[in-house]
Symmetry: D2
């Protein structure tokens, strides 16, 4: 990498999972618009062919970055300045088991990739992969900044640090942005929504169970507005959900957020589908109907499969040149973060990092999500203060459970993982059922769980 | 108080709840056999008549302590060396609501005085009483050692310290003793059970959700024995429970303990009825039948009422002199603790105290149960080390919830108390049901909840 | 206060010490150039006449703020949005004793207002004043942001929080700025110095014993430059000091900073005069000659008296209108901080705040200096990480001693203050001499120490 | 090892430094009187001949333990139940440099083996040896209990844990016993001194800078007695010291202890010679005369050499059988501790262990000295509470400096060790002198410092 004060050239970015048809294109789009950085993106994927296709797609866009499919992980990583990790751990078949198998035991998950029985099995598959990544980064590019987008976020970032404590890794997630957008809408008093970056929030908690304890805009405290909104919202029943729209599977009506605010005095700062999964099973996810009464729906894996088919078609169209690559304003911050770390513009935003004191009433080392200050060569969390007492019982338990999953998976200790499985908030089954469910879900995904004792 | 090296005279012991027909007689019995201490026990009770009766009963035993019913709390406390607190917060009517009302919502509690919906309502009633006690102790005998036996233990002790941080209070509970007895039985290899004090255990956790992380006897590690016992026990079904025996309502078959050991690698150290209540509602307490399949039964308040009737008859018999007072080897340690604090024999035993570092991975200040060293004028917890990772998710959450209840009750904040109500592990109801249940249980016991907002 | 998104009007700023001839004019100057805020500055001073004069001077500048001398502290504070505290605790007579009396015992202080025997006596005078301020702020403007400039900074800020824990106070000091300027000079490679705000530093430690653990500019690590500079600097002897120049009393040649860097691997981030005072007495301040061999000189109070005479003349000239008020680019950040807190421009800069985790290896609550993020209604420290092991022995001891002074002064406990006096790093006297010195210095300044036991 | 409930046989004890003429004989003496344990003591020493001699001496005493000189460390350690470490790191020549070289720079040390310039150089020699021991223990007897008697205690124990975190090591020192004896004398009111074990104390701090925060005996608070004693003692001048008596070199008149108590409100709990060395150089150790005015004298290495000559003669006499081995009541607790760990009698006594929360205001991991509970297979520190504020500035700084020395020595980092050298409380030299002194002392002992960079 070369640096000229106001621009950086010859960057090497390694992208693990670089054959993807979502995040990879987003990154291409965002890099193309950053005119003060240039270099090469190495695309690594266990599906080399997919990486090759993205190589061609990326290079078809005339801009400042070249794309290159890497045949091995070391080739991608060697000397990299940045590493981006965005993978699907396993296939949709494994995800099918994660998300839907627990339904046989009356456990419903709106997403199933972070917590709940599905999140735990997913963690068990993912952590060994992240162990490999951390060791390879240590070997090939120990000074690189590592950005993770993969779920389960908390466990992934924790594993990277457990394996290679000096790693400069952080986890990014756009869920808080949506909450800031809601605040921007409320703050606009009916005018044009106020841009997200003008909404100043204190972020705290764990990824996907993230919270906002204060919010201001242009000198105005936004919590009174938020209380009004929440009371009004919950005074009417949820709007009916039409199940064939894309939004229906990923959006929400903010009713869970409203309910959490009125109950706990703190604002949930992730989509309702995610927030719901960290609450006790009986509350928002007793049944698909309960979920709908709260204004959101479960995201079936069948929908994800269908969505993938569309993306594969699009990939083919991009690849063949039939369709020109579409640049989008992604709203993601990965490239802004890279630029800030290169000294090209400071940034404060929320990320996932080991606790070094930013949340004094959670254990040091546990991965938490708070604001952090990105500046030249430096990423430092901003103090978020103590987790409020009203939500600490939930968060303290969940944080310890995430630690337990990471530890169990690094040890490949199936019994220890079962301890986490039983302690998950969504677990409402009897002990016998829990045991059976765990065994079945393990067997369903055993191709990815070979080392477990 | 006068001290002569090997004996202490003129002690003043204040007994809050001194009209009781259980603990009061136990104390009389134990004091009568301690021949190196003497003085006066002041019995204070909101039922003055009951205290008067116990005064007569106590004085009918010819020994080293005089008994005196006190008409006011200050009279009982003024200049006391020791204060014993053992009260029933409310009547059996309130307890009826605590224990049985949640059954209407499918929530079963084996005891209902510590955690669960019943434990939380009981805490809401009890904390204001303990606030009164703490203030009166501060005023009348700030240097006294204060021994609490009242449940919910954790919350009671925490409240005393929140209100009067310099108080010298601790909480005693005999539940761990039973677990040591089980170990003594196992260690005896079929011979005479080894006495409890020869079973050396590391105690950790929260009252009634207490754990033993290591156990030895005469140089022998007892955990292998315990694993064998547990596997053998669970290989057979539970013995059927006969519901008309006293033991059936308070005893257990140790199956919950065995299950916890095999699952988490740590030994639960309280009766199964208590341990079960801190686990998720679905596990051991899904229904009365589930409980019985685990070898224990729910303790109905009707049985407690009946038991009280027997005790009242016995009280009358003692009072009238018809029946001579029965001295029992109580197995309780209150008097041993007093003697140790007077410099008459060191003691290490488990008690409930604010965390000053004895459990480094729980928050400072939270009340925890560990071993402690009692010696002349000094009570210091013994380091228990970190809570093991496998059980930390449960304990971290529960500990934070106990903190939340204490805080909510001290603020008389009904909404904050509801946050704890929903976060309790036994809560399996839907949100609407939880709200209704809370409102009803509040109304059922509102005579004791007048200050709540 | 009224807020219109891009500007704030009707601000009330209370200035305690508003009769000053230095900081008050700086504030006037800086406020005059902030065109998006307006309102009234209330000047409170125990020398009401001085406040009155500043009122006239302030109002003679045609701009957005009105000035008003307040007769009482409550009048100044009532409903204030911001409070600025910048006082001289006592007169130059007290300072004379602080700074020069210890010289009779061979203890030399370059400044004498922060640490050392002088700093401790000054703290003993100042803390009771800050207790008064904290109580008055609690009463009159509990929500105001409070900016302290008074030394001893750490102890002053700590006292405000001990007396009124919910206060929104922070301490500002420009010493780090000079260090950033040095880095900006080094980073320029001989060209125009790079502006301070482009020099990104991680700040940590205690006020006036502040450290920089990393520094970057435009993607370049500045530590290699800094090592070169330091080695080169120390390879030559110090330049001779001419004692009649203003700079000679307040400036330095950065030799102490260079020495600390080469020894400890961390960069001292305050003027050498301040840094020297936190080192053992024998090192940089064994004698005035030792100091000069390190390129700095002691600042005699006689020079401060002379300097004041000039300022009083200037005050008279401004007041009478003979000389027009001089606007200066102060380089101070107080007004930038106010604007940021009003939502008019985010800022990251170093300030003094209680430790809420920003330095995990110093005690929670202790006042420390690190970067912090100022944004709308919010001030949050940025994590600085652990104090490096090489300097922790010094800082851990000094931080505990500052806590001790604050505590001793709040209790008006002279003996406890003496414990801090003896533990100060500059203390090289024998115990008898230390006792005598303490007694004499106490007596010298006893007019301000009346409540001490 | 075999265990029969009331006795343990076939113990293997490894003694590193087993050729010693002091501690080895003490251990023989103490083991001979413990009739419930038996086995073999393996004596390992770099002076194999000395070990051989002790083998013969040990076996000449008819009792329950056999002695065997081991030629290699693994031979001694293989399968050991206990390991005792008591070595002299280097020879008296190195100690000569440690203790007396700093006198050329006006730095006087009463002992010179724990802190001060001498203690730091000694640590630099000792830590690499302890690294070897820890690795050999890990390899040969990872489950053994390891008792260290070697100084510098804090650094030795810390190194064992840094190298092998699972080690079951603790450090023993009899200095506190003497302080308890003083209390026993005071408590006796002129009668027979009360035995040490009846004096109940709360011990806290660091080895040789240990403190007692409360003391009781038979229900009586001993601090009032202690204040009286201290005031009376210091009202008279010190008694003159006769320099040819053994006691004069190792004893004291408790004047330092008295002064510390009256100043800080806490009782120093080590011999005055040790306590003095942790105070600033100017206070008790400005000169040999200052020391004598405080009632103690510096211990010259020449005296130690002479003392050794006597011991060698005695060794010869024992070895040849001319003189029968003398059994002494050592007052040491090593054998009591072993017995307690074997389940043959519980014990609470003070030891050096990593901080796991026993002192919440010192860092976790730092080695501290507090009471601990020894019971079957278990050693757990007893909570000592926070270090009192008055002495925390000293202790926080010293503890961090001990951490720094251990770290520097493990890294063989000479420059980092110099940081600790300068931060030591006894260091009063100028920076140039400190550098020269460090270089010279390093060169004086370079035979033992070969790996340092």
């Amino acid at each position: 990498m070369k640096h000229y004060g106001s621009k950086a050239e010859d960057l090497k970015i390694a992208y693990i999972g670089g054959g993807s048809r979502g995040w990879a294109w987003t990154l291409m789009s965002d890099l193309a618009r950053a005119d003060d950085i240039s270099g090469t993106v190495y695309l690594y994927d266990i599906d080399f062919d997919a990486a090759k296709r993205n190589e061609k797609i990326g290079n078809s866009i005339p801009h400042n970055f070249a794309y290159k499919a890497a045949e091995t992980l070391p080739e991608a990583l060697k000397g990299a300045d940045f590493v981006v990790i965005s993978i699907l751990p396993g296939t949709f078949d494994e995800m099918e088991s994660d998300v839907h198998w627990p339904e046989r035991y009356g456990i419903y998950q709106s997403v199933g990739d972070t917590t709940g029985p599905g999140g735990i099995l997913r963690a068990m598959r993912t952590v060994p992969m992240f162990e490999t990544f951390a060791l390879a980064i240590k070997e090939n590019c120990p000074d690189a900044w590592v950005i993770n987008y993969t779920n389960p976020m908390t466990v992934c970032v924790r594993s990277l640090y457990k394996v290679f404590p000096e790693i400069k890794a952080f986890g990014c997630c756009h869920e808080v942005f949506g909450t800031q957008a809601l605040l921007g809408f409320l703050a606009s008093d009916g005018g044009a929504p106020i841009p997200r970056h003008d909404i100043k929030v204190n972020v705290t908690g764990l990824n996907h169970f993230t919270w906002i304890t204060s919010a201001s805009c242009h000198g105005r405290d936004l919590f009174p507005l938020l209380y009004d909104f929440s009371r009004r919202l919950l005074s009417e029943p949820a709007k009916p959900i039409v199940h064939d729209e894309h939004f229906s599977y990923f959006g929400s009506q903010d009713r869970v957020k409203a309910d959490l605010l009125l109950r706990f005095g703190v604002m949930g700062a992730a989509g309702d589908r995610h927030l719901a999964e960290f609450n006790k099973g009986g509350l928002y996810l007793r049944s698909p109907e309960t979920a709908e009464s709260w204004g959101f729906t479960l995201t079936p894996v069948s929908y994800r499969r269908e969505d993938l088919r569309h993306k594969l078609e699009l990939s083919e169209a991009y690849y063949s040149g039939k369709t020109p690559f579409t640049f989008k304003n992604s709203g993601e911050e990965g490239v802004l973060q890279m630029r800030a770390l290169l000294g090209l513009g400071d940034l404060i935003t929320n990320v996932n990092l080991p606790n070094v004191g930013q949340i004094p009433n959670l254990p040091l080392g546990a991965v938490v999500e708070t604001n952090a200050s990105f500046t030249c060569n430096s990423l430092k969390p901003v103090s978020a203060g103590n987790i409020p007492a009203s939500i600490l019982p939930m968060i303290a338990g969940i944080s310890a459970n995430q630690e337990l999953i990471a530890e169990a998976a690094l040890r490949r200790d199936r019994e220890l993982a079962f301890c986490a499985f039983v302690s998950d908030p969504l677990m409402t089954a009897s002990l016998d059922d829990a045991k059976r469910m765990f065994r079945e879900m393990f067997d369903n995904t055993s191709a990815y769980l070979k080392d477990y004792k």
